[in-house]
């Protein structure tokens, strides 16, 4: 049976029919979910999908009723026999699942369909805010449905808690296609038709350097201490190294204190734990948007903290001297609005260098934001995870830890990790530096849950300690490679007249594809995103960064030149298609208008229409000059 499913039939009816005959109801939850509908949604529009679902739901309901009738008869005869409940149970689970899926589709159908929007491939884009509401609604329906069908208090208990269902829904919504990508990665020799991922913000330009450095013999030290429980805040030797490292690279006015360092397995973990100790459930942080969407995820999943967006705009005006500028006025406004809505705001989250904009906050702006926070006694969480990825030398990045006097040091918390700056996201290392001992101690409790292996801590300690290698080998090479890749991409974008924002830092450019959207809506943005996916190119769309304006995409350029070249070919192909479709649509509209005006003359009509279409396409191609 499961083989049947795995083949991914695009005929849901057939698939579900076969499921109904399963004897083990517990298999139901694994079924169809991904494969069938993924397949289906690739081939059909969202409406077709829904129609098919409704049909199969109808079929399932009919079967269910038949079964019920049969069972009641049987029960009269053999009331005790448990076995008869099994197919019924299975059908109920199936019905629930179908409803669940339909709700998913309906929720996302409005904006283009969830399956049309696999934010997954982008590490950063896993937190579509909307999926939260979606999950909540669908789990309610799921629940209501079970309550309705739970006519006897037998074994029907859905396995997961509400938050478990929601977590799962998020996972399903966002990881399915990431896994597809994992299973079908582009490889320059072996798999040239695989997915190219310019969605996940990973630096793959220096794996040779890192591999070499990490293979050196000094990395392979094993000690009893590394194998035992250690200080849950992180091994003292690593915290000392981190303190020294940050003192040096952040240019701290005074040596930083290892006691203020907390080391956990990744910045997501740091953020999750920090949100938990700073906020109670339902409280909120302000966050300028577009923003790194992992924080939306991490604020929500465990911590149940909300993010209140401070919407920034691309339009330049008097109050907005550059696109997406963050000003204190906007912060004040957002805070006020949140208060009016009864939200308890506990802090402000800043990312510097910004992700996805690539902005760097000047020291003055930073000071303004910090003063604003102090005025409202808000915590400030500053994520400086790209601080060493500022590859344009003309730009001066200033870490918050470099400031002589912080307005409110007890409420200023800095996050850093090696994932981006050293391109080792698989290492799982993140660190918090806070002047607030109380916060550091509260965070320490999470060492149990976000601990790093002693062996890894040792390697990190060696890596961070090797200033000579970092300063003379790694950073110069990394910066020049980033620069080169950046130059390639920006030249490409300039030559095809695609507007973009980039400020010489980070691993990505923020591009505007608004002119390819008609109308300029998030639905169209998702469709375009989907088109890229169809051509095996993964980008992150603006929606996943909580961007207020449709049409923005983040493109990660920290990849090899060859990969970038292939990626850009796919990129242009999609844009050409997008334009062609636009032309076709225009022509169809025009023709339909004509058809209404003209008397019916079918043969000539269809002929002339074809001609027009073909010439339209040619025109479109030449317009783009491709």
């Amino acid at each position: 049976m499961s083989e049947n499913m795995d083949r991914g039939s695009s005929q849901p009816d057939e698939a579900h029919m076969s499921i109904q005959s399963r004897s083990n109801p517990s298999d139901i939850p694994h079924m169809s979910d991904g494969q069938v509908w993924d397949q289906a949604s690739r081939n059909h529009s969202i409406h077709t999908c829904l129609m098919e679902m409704v049909l199969s739901l109808q079929q399932a309901v009919a079967d269910h009723i038949t079964q019920l009738a049969t069972r009641h008869q049987q029960q009269d005869l053999v009331p005790e026999e448990q076995g008869h409940n099994q197919p019924i149970w299975g059908q109920e689970a199936l019905l629930g699942r179908l409803m669940f899926q339909m709700v998913n589709h309906l929720q996302f159908g409005a904006t283009g369909g969830q399956k049309f929007q696999p934010p997954c491939p982008s590490e950063d884009s896993k937190g579509d805010v909307r999926s939260r509401e979606q999950a909540q609604v669908s789990k309610q329906i799921y629940k209501i449905f079970y309550q309705l069908t739970n006519f006897e208090d037998t074994s029907i208990n859905y396995v997961l808690s509400n938050r478990g269902v929601e977590t799962s829904a998020l996972y399903h919504g966002s990881f399915q296609d990431y896994n597809t990508y994992q299973g079908n990665k582009y490889h320059e020799d072996k798999n040239t038709s695989g997915f190219i991922n310019l969605g996940t913000s990973e630096n793959k330009l220096c794996t040779d350097l890192l591999t070499e450095r990490l293979s050196r013999s000094d990395m392979n030290y094993i000690d009893d201490d590394l194998l035992q429980y250690s200080d849950w805040r992180g091994q003292p030797f690593l915290r000392e190294e981190v303190a020294q490292f940050l003192t040096y690279y952040c240019k701290a006015p005074a040596p930083l204190d290892p006691e203020n360092v907390v080391v956990l397995n990744g910045c997501s973990s740091v953020f999750s734990a920090l949100a938990t100790v700073l906020c109670d459930p339902g409280e909120a942080f302000l966050v300028p948007t577009p923003t790194y969407s992992d924080f939306v995820f991490s604020a929500h999943l465990y911590a149940k903290v909300d993010l209140v967006p401070v919407d920034l705009e691309s339009q330049v005006s008097d109050a907005n001297t550059h696109p997406f500028q963050l000003t204190v006025d906007k912060l004040e406004q957002a805070l006020l609005n949140a208060k009016l809505e009864g939200k308890k705001v506990r802090g402000l989250v800043l990312i510097n260098p910004q992700n996805p904009l690539g902005h760097i906050y000047s020291q003055d702006s930073l000071m303004e934001y910090l003063e604003f926070a102090k005025k409202h006694s808000l915590h400030v969480i500053i994520d400086e995870i790209y601080m060493l990825s500022v590859f344009d030398e003309s730009i001066t990045f200033r870490s918050v830890l470099s400031m002589e006097s912080l307005p409110d040091p007890n409420k200023t918390h800095m996050i850093w990790g090696t994932s981006k700056d050293f391109g080792i996201s698989g290492f799982r290392f993140g660190t918090l530096y806070t002047h607030n001992k109380e916060v550091a101690l509260a965070m320490s409790s999470f060492g149990y849950l976000h601990g790093i292996s002693g062996i890894t801590q040792y390697k990190l300690h060696r890596l961070l300690q090797d200033r000579e290698w970092i300063d003379n080998v790694y950073l110069p090479t990394n910066h020049s490679r980033l620069q080169e890749a950046h130059r390639f991409i920006t030249n490409e974008l300039k030559s095809s007249k695609i507007p973009f924002l980039s400020h010489g830092s980070g691993l990505y450019v923020w591009i505007s594809l608004r002119k390819y959207l008609d109308p300029c809506t998030f639905e169209e943005e998702l469709l375009l995103h989907r088109r890229f996916l169809d051509k095996k190119l993964i980008l992150s769309c603006g929606k996943t960064f909580m961007c207020k304006e449709p049409g923005w995409f983040r493109l990660v350029f920290a990849a090899t030149p060859l990969l970038l070249k292939h990626a850009m070919q796919r990129f242009y192909t999609v844009l050409v298609e997008q334009e062609q479709d636009w032309v076709v649509k225009q022509l169809e509209d025009a023709i339909n208008q004509e058809v209404e005006d003209l008397p019916a003359s079918d043969a000539s009509q269809s002929y002339s229409r074809e001609v027009i279409l073909t010439s339209g396409l040619e025109g479109c191609c030449s317009d783009l000059g491709l």
């Binding site: 591999t211 990490l214 392979n220 999750s272 999943l301 409420k411 698989g426």
Partner: protein, 517 residues
Amino acid sequence: MPRPRPSSPYSARSPSPMFTLPQKESRKPTTCPGSVSTRGLHSIYGDGLEREAARKPDQKLLYGVGDPTAMFSSDSPHLSSRGSIIKWFWDSAEEGYRTYHMDEYDEDKNPGGIINLGTSENKLCFDLLSRRLSHSDMLRVEPSLLQYPDWRGHLFLREEVASFLSFYCKSPAPLKPENVVVLNGCASLFSALATVLCEVGEAFLIPAPYYGAITQHVYLYGNVRLVCVYLDSEVTGLETHPFQLTVDKLEMALQGAISEGVKVKGLILINPQNPLGDIYSPGELREYLEFAKRHALHVMVDEVYMLSVFEESVGYRSVLSLEGLPDPQKTHVMWATSKDFGMSGLRFGTLYTENQDVATAVASLCRYHGLSGFVQYQMAQLLRDRDWINQVYLPENHARLKAAHTYVSEELRALGVPFLSHGAGFFIWVDLRKFLPEATFEEERLLWRRFLENKVLLSFGKAFECKEPGWFRLVFSDKAHRLRLGMQRIRQVLEGKSQVAEDPPSCQTQEPRGPHR
């Protein structure tokens, strides 16, 4: 700056009733078997308050750190309400451990330092492990290990775990990699499972005494409670051994919890048990699983000591070896290398569940519980090396555990101290009730403090939520010289008890909590 408490689940459980009301009653030793006590997260630590109440005011200053009332009478200006509770956890939980760290025994540098027989770690095989982990096959660095992983764990590792568990748990059919989720330790696994199986405020049943840290693991993020199923040392009725878990006790605890309006979603079993060292027979295990199935409860079976059964006659059976589990979709098995491979610092744990909904939900939290690609690679190499495990590591480890166990149990016998031990785990459950002038937890703590003053750290029964005062857990999996010294110091305390008792407690002494891992 004071701020209004939000209307969150946390405010409903405002600290004062939390720390007083539920405990006064449940804390009394009761003779009723299987009596139930619904425990908030804090109740296990709550005796700090009792002690505080009993303490004379002039001594109060000595114990500022672990004082929950002080903690909660003033709202922290920087932390959320739950943040304050979490910090308090840390303060109370880690102080004992840190006291030990400040004065750790070292043969050369600090021979007068504290010997730690409290933390359940196997320190007998570091030589074997260091050597194995330094083999050249461990040192590979591949770019894919540097990048974002599959959050369930790298496939190569999950395959290795499945095959490893199939072999060592003697599963009737090969276990599947897709049912495996890999994360950074069993603490994380408890946290993730609590979150995806329970709503805020719901509960798991757990037979007590139990490994106390679970309380914190299920609370920190999950805000899930534990309902203790109290076991006692007296053998009554049809029981065959002390602290026996029976279905009756489970039923009574469950009904008790329900009558108090607590929604129970699952049952936690630790097998081999910590701290009792008990091993559940397949028959017993099946009864517990049937009980869970009757009440539609999940069962989380923590088998983290499964390869640390050093007495071959014991006949340990993993739950994964059972043919036809009563409710396979609700049976979730946990294992890790912390104990069986003596690498608690490695942070590797794994879940095996046939339930894909649960696996997926746990995996979706794994971005917060990931472990380095390198370590995943090394673990796969380690678990794959059956020759080394079967011919070198396990025989040697078991022989060393047995020798240490023999030594300690003989010492205890010589001291006339009763104890429980079943040839599994790293610890002996020691009955020091006769050394308490009064059967109270206050006295238990005083005795514990005398041990600490005599530079030997043990874990006392209260930390395991044992309802009878006077039980201690003694970890024996340590090197001979430390063990000898530790036992010597224990002997001194027990024999010279009256003399030590007259000394006032030292102001340096901190509260014990942390080491009971």
